[in-house]
C-alpha cells in the first residue's frame, strides 16, 4: 500500500480509492469471503503465548491510540486488562454517541469483519471469556450478518454477542457502556475501580472503540512497521474522519494523519464558503481558527488540540461562532447523566451564560470563565471537562465576535445551523 493520502468517500457513486479500513462502493458488507479476499485470514497460532507477546509488542510499537476520543495508547490499555484479576471481557464499542460523528457506524456497516477480527484478536491477547459488540442501531443488521457468517465459519474462539447501543451522548464512555450491557442504564460510574480491574460482571474489561479494533486487526496481520508507514512519527497511521458543515460532500473519509488540513477538507470536495473556524473532535472538541489551521498538519501535535472522535466541522465566515457555541453548549448540558453536582448545576449555568452572550443580553462573563475552570476534572466522567474545553476554545477563537456581542453587535449575516442538532425540543 502506498503512502498516499488515503481517500474514502462514504457515499457510493463518487470517485473512491480504498483506504486501509474502508472498502469502496459498498453500502453494506462485504461478505466474509470478500473480506478474506481483501485482507487475508488472521494469523494462525493466536492461542500461543509467543504470538500474543509478539502481537502486543507490535501494537505498542505501532503507536496505535484509541479512536473513540481519548487517544489513550492501546498497548497500555491491553497490558492493564491482561494483568487484571480474572478472565477478561472484550467490548467493541460502536456506540458513537457523538452527534456529529458517523465514522463508527459507517465502518461497522462497510467493514464489520475487520472490526470483529480486531475484537477476536483482542480476545486472544487477553485470553478473554466473552466478546460483546455494542453497535449503533444503524449498523446492527450488518454486524448481525457478519457475526452469523463468522459463527458458521467457526473463526472466533470466543462467541460474539451483539448489543444495540444506547442513544445518548455519554453512553459511549467506557463505564457507561459496561453499565448499559449489564444493567440497561447507559450512565458512567465513578472511578476507581478501573474497567481494567472491575468491569463487566466484575471482570477485567477492555472497552475499545471499533475503529481502534479494526486497526488492531491489520497490525496483527501486517505488523508495526507497516502501520507506521503512514502518518507522522508521533502519530502514526491513518484515521477515519467525519467531515461536515461548509464542505461540498459531507461524509466519512479515511485520512493519513499529518496531511495538511486543507487536503483533508479537499477530500470532501473542498469548502463551499470562506471558512472562519473548524470544530475538531466533536461537540465537546475544540474550535480552531480556519485561517491558520488549514495549513497545519491534521494531527494533535499539528493542530495543538486532540482529534477526539475525528469530527471536522467547517464553520463558514458568515455564521456566528458564538451562536453555534451556545447551541452546542445547551445540547451538551442536556446530555449530563445527572449524577454529579458540578455537571448537573454547572453545565446549565454555563449554557445560560453562553446563551446570554449569543443573544447580546447582559451576563456575568467573569462567572462564566471561572465556572469553566472550576468544573474541569470534577465529574465521574470527562463530560464537564469536554464542555469546558469546547467553550474555552470558542472564547479564544471567536474573541472578536464575543466582544462584539457584549456590546450588542453580531457581525454574522446568517443564523445557519451548521451542527446537527439531535434534540429539537431543547433548541435555545
Amino acid at each position: 500500500m502506498t503512502a498516499n493520502l488515503l481517500v474514502r468517500d462514504s457515499r457510493r457513486g463518487t470517485a473512491c480509492r480504498p483506504g486501509r479500513l474502508l472498502p469502496c462502493g459498498l453500502a453494506e458488507g462485504p461478505s466474509f469471503g470478500d473480506h478474506l479476499a481483501r485482507h487475508g485470514s488472521l494469523p494462525d497460532g493466536r492461542r500461543k503465548e509467543s504470538w500474543q507477546r509478539a502481537t502486543l509488542t507490535a501494537i505498542r510499537e505501532a503507536g496505535l491510540v484509541g479512536r473513540g476520543g481519548a487517544a489513550f495508547p492501546t498497548g497500555r490499555k491491553l497490558d492493564a486488562v491482561r494483568s487484571g484479576p480474572g478472565r477478561a471481557v472484550v467490548i467493541a464499542n460502536g456506540t458513537e454517541g457523538e452527534p456529529a460523528s458517523r465514522k463508527d457506524r459507517v465502518l461497522l456497516s462497510q467493514a464489520p469483519h475487520l472490526v470483529l477480527d480486531g475484537a477476536s484478536v483482542a480476545a486472544d491477547l487477553l485470553r478473554a471469556a466473552e466478546v460483546v459488540a455494542v453497535v449503533h442501531p444503524d449498523a446492527r443488521r450488518s454486524v448481525d450478518t457478519a457475526v452469523a457468517e463468522r459463527g458458521a465459519a467457526g473463526v472466533d474462539r470466543v462467541p460474539i454477542r451483539v448489543v444495540t447501543a444506547a442513544d445518548r451522548f455519554v453512553a459511549g464512555e467506557a463505564s457507561a457502556v459496561v453499565n448499559w450491557v449489564q444493567r440497561g442504564t447507559p450512565i458512567p460510574r465513578g472511578r476507581p475501580p478501573r474497567m481494567s480491574e472491575h468491569g463487566l460482571g466484575g471482570r477485567p474489561t477492555l472497552v475499545q472503540n471499533v475503529e481502534t479494533l479494526a486497526h488492531m486487526a491489520l497490525i496483527a496481520r501486517h505488523g508495526a512497521d507497516w502501520y507506521r508507514s503512514l502518518g507522522t512519527t508521533e502519530e502514526p497511521g491513518s484515521t477515519l474522519v467525519t467531515l461536515l458543515g461548509a464542505v461540498a460532500r459531507p461524509g466519512v473519509y479515511e485520512v493519513e494523519i499529518g496531511r495538511a488540513v486543507h487536503e483533508v477538507i479537499a477530500l470532501a470536495g473542498g469548502a463551499t464558503d470562506e471558512l472562519q473556524a473548524l470544530l475538531i473532535g466533536g461537540y465537546a472538541g475544540s474550535w480552531v481558527p480556519a485561517g491558520s489551521a488549514l495549513e497545519l498538519p491534521f494531527s494533535a501535535h499539528g493542530l495543538g488540540v486532540g482529534l477526539g472522535a475525528g469530527v471536522v466541522a467547517a464553520l463558514p465566515a458568515d455564521v456566528c461562532g458564538v451562536v453555534e457555541t451556545a447551541r452546542l453548549t445547551r445540547y451538551l448540558a442536556s446530555q449530563s447523566a445527572g449524577q454529579c453536582g458540578p455537571c448537573v448545576f454547572g453545565l446549565p449555568s454555563i449554557a445560560d451564560q453562553v446563551d446570554a452572550l449569543a443573544a447580546g443580553r447582559p451576563g456575568t462573563f467573569g462567572d462564566l470563565e471561572r465556572w469553566l475552570e472550576e468544573i474541569t476534572g470534577r465529574g465521574a466522567c470527562g463530560h464537564p471537562d469536554g464542555v469546558a474545553r469546547m467553550v474555552q476554545s470558542a472564547l479564544r477563537v471567536f474573541a472578536g465576535e464575543v466582544s462584539g456581542h457584549r456590546t450588542g453587535r453580531c457581525r454574522a449575516s446568517e443564523a445557519a445551523r451548521v451542527m446537527p442538532w439531535p434534540i429539537p425540543d431543547v433548541v435555545p
Partner: protein
C-alpha cells in the same frame, strides 16, 4: 513517616452537604452550587487529623483519603 495522601471525592455520591468545607476550609472550598473543590496535592501533615475527621463526618461517605505516591498528579476530585 506516613505515606502522603490526598483528598478525593466520589462525585456521584457527593450531595453537596458541605460539612467538609466547614471542617477543612484550608483544603476544601465550595463552588457556586455548594459542591466541594479540593485543593490539589498532598494533605499537609498538620492537617492530616482534621482531614481524617472530615472524611469520617461526610454523611454521604463521599469524601476519602487516597494514597498518592506521586502527589503532583491531578487528584481525582
Amino acid at each position: 513517616m506516613t505515606t502522603p495522601v490526598r483528598l478525593g471525592v466520589d462525585r456521584i455520591a457527593c450531595d453537596g452537604r458541605g460539612l467538609c468545607a466547614e471542617m477543612l476550609p484550608e483544603l476544601v472550598v465550595l463552588d457556586d452550587w455548594g459542591y466541594p473543590i479540593l485543593r490539589q496535592g498532598p494533605v499537609p501533615d498538620a492537617l492530616r487529623d482534621l482531614a481524617e475527621d472530615a472524611v469520617g463526618i461526610c454523611p454521604k461517605l463521599a469524601l476519602r483519603l487516597e494514597p498518592c505516591p506521586v502527589c503532583d498528579a491531578p487528584s481525582s476530585g
